[in-house]
């Protein structure tokens, strides 16, 4: 499988995986997942990435 095909598969799989995480969940569970995701985002400051 070429690089482009791998990228496409990854995009689709990641999109579905994120979507599937919320299916069948209660509102409280979704709130917990969203809170965790946002916290994970906050902890990943792009300024902490290497410059080169």
């Amino acid at each position: 499988m070429g690089d482009a095909a791998i990228i496409v598969v990854r995009l689709i799989v990641e999109g579905w995986a994120a979507y599937a995480r919320t299916q069948g969940k209660t509102e409280a569970e979704i709130n917990t997942i969203l809170s965790q995701v946002i916290n994970d985002v906050i902890s990943r400051d792009p300024a902490d990435l290497p410059d080169k």
Binding site: G2, D3, A4, A5, I6, I7, V8, R10, L11, I12, E14, G15, W16, A17, A18, Y19, R21, T22, E27, I30, N31, I33, L34, V37, I38, D40, V41, I42, R44, D45, P46, A47, L49, P50, K52
Partner: protein, 138 residues
């Protein structure tokens, strides 16, 4: 030719995501603003970790680093938008956990109680995430 095929495949992936969202809408399974936030956040986390891996690895090629730095620029713009995200709540009754469709979220212009992203910021974020997808993988 290779680039042409890659562009087509990336466009196909974006189309697949659009079909997924449309299918949810037509079957009554709407994406709530919270679900949308989870998808955006998960995408950001995945891309951030990928960029960090490339820039931290001594075995990364020059091309991989150049691509990772382009992604870093986009992540830098997307980060403040996503980290401030909190699902909008029903403007009539903030206690109601109203499901929002993607269309409602994008085009709602009325007052919103609690935290929310403006339509301009939502569109800006979607554009940034699409730019990330277009750049491709490692």
């Amino acid at each position: 030719m290779r680039m042409h095929n890659r562009t087509n495949l990336v466009l196909f992936a974006l189309l697949a995501v659009l079909v997924m969202v449309s299918a949810c809408a037509t079957t009554g399974q709407t994406l709530t603003a919270k679900q949308q936030g989870i998808i955006w956040g998960s995408t950001y986390i995945s891309e951030y970790d990928s960029v960090k891996d490339v820039l931290s690895s001594s075995t990364s090629t020059v091309a991989q680093r150049e691509l990772a730095l382009k992604k870093k620029d986009i992540l830098t713009k997307a980060w403040p938008l996503i980290k401030d995200f909190n699902a909008p709540v029903d403007p009539i009754n903030p206690a109601t956990l109203k499901p929002w469709t993607r269309t409602e979220l994008m085009f709602y212009t009325g007052p919103i109680t609690g935290y929310a992203m403006s339509t301009v910021k939502v569109n800006e974020l979607i554009k940034l995430l699409e730019d990330l997808a277009t750049l491709g993988g490692k």
